[in-house]
């Protein structure tokens, strides 16, 4: 036995050595020959950015762009290890929850000078998006590439069966006390095993067949598609300012009331418990299986919902809240340049091209997958979605009515997120009350002082 194991260990060691010997010739490492490497995570979006890369090459024959795609879960680990080994791509799609950390560790190229030198007009992007990519020292790391907002996706058949007209979904109202017409709709759409609806006497909340509203997760400290649309419509915001708040507002009474109401949907049987929602398949698949009549979702998932087999969906805007307006988080991506790139000029030209009408308006908008960040590209994108029978007005209404709130972006976000996920999970599963937010918020603010 021991002999066999030792032989195995030797074989394994040799195998590892061979593998180790090969890894030097990784094709993701940058080359000086005018090839610019570019990483992204969304397979749906790869074709449109490939088209941009081709157009960029046609306009600048001296540069070629090589795109590599990694799934979201691998993306950040791969990128981090690539930073460590100095083999990071010249350019890559970046996210607000990750870039501050990389910027603080000097991994990203500051493009402030380039933007000034080339006169890039920052007002051509949706309001506020460009500010998200400037850190506290005033260094700019990216130009906006797209934006996303939140809306309600509903199963058209279930809405019809409930006797609800789709026009009634357009101007729903909500408040944290009785939930308004929004909660009445959710109750109406909830059906138990005996066919009784949530607003009918005899409704059995322990045996629900279809929940009126689906649940993705507790939302942690972000709550982008889970609860931010309600909390914002009370006038609440994550922090005292965005980006870079100096303190968070998770202990605000308006936030606590909103979360208490959100949790009450579970108690009434209109929304699944966190245990049910996190027991296997995700929100989209449960919706696809007819378990949810409605879900709150981000615009980036629109195509995936339309691709679901056996379910026909419609989109409605988020409800109008106590401040008399709707609300939605607005978030957007940007491209970052690796500080160690061998080709900073080529990388900048490519990133600038990605943030220009030639890419965003002429190519990306026409694909109807995401909303480009440029104001002038929104109409084009709406048209492209309409061509696929998708009316995306519920997403863009927030732009027109100026009801967007910027995504929170802060230092120590990974620590804040870990703490808030624990706290919100606990509240949503009924293990603690909303008053536990006081203590959590104190700790969050301590992270910010570090």
């Amino acid at each position: 036995m021991t002999k066999a194991r030792r032989a195995l260990a030797a074989a394994a060691a040799l195998g590892l050595l061979t593998v180790g010997g090969c890894s030097g010739s990784d094709d993701s490492s940058k080359s000086a020959s005018g090839t610019i490497t570019y990483w992204l995570w969304d397979t749906f979006q790869q074709p449109q950015y490939q088209a941009c890369a081709d157009a960029f090459h046609a306009a600048n024959p001296q540069y070629k762009v090589k795109i590599t795609q990694y799934g979201w879960d691998d993306y950040w680990n791969t990128l981090t290890s690539a930073f460590v080994s100095g083999t990071a791509p010249d350019t890559f799609i970046s996210h607000l929850s990750y870039y501050p950390q990389y910027a603080a560790q000097s991994q990203l190229l500051d493009i402030t000078e380039q933007v000034k030198k080339d006169n890039v007009d920052l007002s051509q992007y949706q309001n506020g998006l460009a500010d998200l990519w400037v850190d506290q020292q005033g260094r700019r790391f990216g130009l906006p590439k797209d934006f996303d907002t939140v809306a309600l996706f509903y199963n058209t058949k279930k809405v019809e069966e409930a006797g609800v007209k789709t026009e009634d979904l357009q101007n729903l109202t909500w408040n944290p006390t009785d939930g308004g017409t929004y909660e009445r709709l959710i109750a109406r759409l909830t059906v138990d095993k005996n066919g009784k609806r949530g607003d009918e006497p005899g409704f059995d909340k322990t045996k629900v067949a279809t929940y009126g509203l689906g649940l993705n997760s507790s939302g942690g400290g972000f709550g982008q598609t889970e609860w931010s649309q309600y909390a914002f419509s009370t006038g609440w915001t994550h922090g005292d300012k965005t980006p870079w708040p100096t303190r968070f507002n998770y202990d605000d009474p308006r936030f606590k009331q909103t979360i208490a109401w959100f949790r009450s949907l579970v108690d009434r049987g209109y929304m699944p418990t966190l245990a049910i929602a996190s027991s296997g398949v995700n929100q989209m698949d449960a919706y696809g299986a007819g378990k949810y009549a409605m879900v709150t979702e981000g615009s980036w998932n629109t195509k995936s919902y339309w691709d679901l087999k056996g379910v026909k969906s419609g989109i409605a805007p988020t409800p109008i809240g106590p401040i008399g307006k709707r609300a939605s988080m607005i978030n957007g991506l940007a491209d970052n340049i690796y500080a160690g790139t061998k080709n900073p000029e080529g990388a900048w030209q490519w990133v600038k091209f990605l943030a220009s009408p030639a890419c965003q308006q002429d190519i990306v908008a026409k694909q109807g997958i995401v909303f480009p960040a440029m104001k002038t590209a929104t109409v084009e994108a709406e048209r492209a979605f309409a061509a696929k029978q998708i009316d995306v007005a519920p997403f863009t209404v927030h732009i027109k009515e100026n009801t967007t709130t910027l995504a929170p972006i802060a230092d120590h976000w990974a620590d804040i997120s870990a703490l808030m996920t624990e706290t919100m999970d606990s509240i949503l599963s009924g293990k603690s009350g909303v008053d536990s937010l006081d203590g959590a918020n104190r700790k969050v603010n301590e992270f910010l002082k570090k």
Binding site: A10, N77, T80, Q105, P272, T273, G280, V281, D285, K431
Partner: protein, 296 residues
């Protein structure tokens, strides 16, 4: 020791080096050096992208006061106890059945089948089969008039569920190891037991198990250490939740290192885990007298 044997001993050295060399290089490069470096990093504040900064025992002080570290150890322990207890009982049972009842290669292969499926795939398939609303298992429960269970979703059932999924995957492999041990037991002792009129049950307890002890000791040490290292099943299903119910030690270390870039602290926890595992393995080997056999 005579000079002749000593000379022969030295004559064997070059040949021995050739055989030991590759394993030794692998051991030094991939185990010993990383372990030493890991220990050094545990004494530093290291965020991976900037140089480590020596801070002495600060990480270890933090570890003692970190309720999530202790929670992770408890959760891991719960997992190990359920996983090893169920797995060992079933593995021995399967092995004895294979040994006494069948010589069929097909059945032996089938027993090993779950082990041939990648851990992540097995975990994901179970995850969707056990889903509260759409999972086939819950559909079966409903037909049997049993209430549905959110296996992976409830704090109380999540760890047992993960432990049993991994038991399902590993039990066949463990059974084969035990089976190999059973085959090493001479037939004569069974014939003698039969001659003395011992029942099948008595034979198992008085003959099979005692003679199996060295093999069982090895199997237990290997499976217990393997069990402490549970990671992938958690990473692809519950990711530590609900709340902290499945935040096992390896997953917590991974989070600290790769999500929160606190490599120094992650190294300190890894080192603490190393000490614990070394202790567990040593205690097991001593308690089960693994180096002695009752046969000799």
């Amino acid at each position: 020791m005579s000079t002749a044997t000593r000379a022969r001993r030295y004559r064997d050295v070059p040949a021995a080096l050739i055989f030991v060399g590759p394993a030794a290089v692998g051991f030094l490069t991939f185990y010993l050096w990383p372990a030493i470096r890991g220990f050094y990093l545990s004494l530093t504040d290291f965020s991976l992208l900037s140089a480590p900064e020596f801070i002495g025992l600060e990480n270890y002080e933090r570890l003692i006061g970190d309720h999530l570290f202790w929670n992770a150890l408890l959760v891991t322990l719960e997992y190990v106890v359920i996983n090893i207890a169920v797995q060992t009982v079933f593995a021995v049972l399967l092995a004895v059945l294979m040994h006494r009842l069948t010589r069929s290669m097909t059945i032996r292969s089938i027993v090993l089948l779950p082990y041939l499926i990648a851990n992540v795939i097995a975990a994901l398939v179970w995850y969707s089969m056990l889903d509260y609303q759409t999972g086939v298992v819950n559909q079966l429960l409903e037909w049997l008039s049993v209430d549905r269970v959110a296996f992976f979703g409830e704090t109380t059932t999540a760890i047992p569920t993960i432990a049993l999924v991994n038991t399902w995957r590993h039990v066949g492999y463990t059974a084969l190891l035990v089976f190999a041990g059973l085959q090493a037991i001479p037939k004569q002792v069974y014939e003698a037991a039969a001659m003395d009129g011992a029942s099948e049950w008595k034979t198992f307890w008085r003959v099979t198990l005692p003679l199996l002890r060295p093999v069982m000791a090895l199997v237990l040490v290997l499976t217990v250490i393997g069990s402490f290292q549970v990671f992938d099943t958690v990473a692809v299903t519950t990711t530590g939740g609900p709340i902290n119910a499945t935040r096992v030690i390896y997953y917590y270390i991974f989070e600290q290192a790769f999500a929160r870039f606190d490599f120094g602290y992650a190294s300190a926890m890894s080192f603490a885990l190393f000490v614990i595992l070394a202790g567990v393995a040593y205690a097991q080997l001593r308690l089960t007298r693994a180096s002695q056999s009752d046969l000799s």
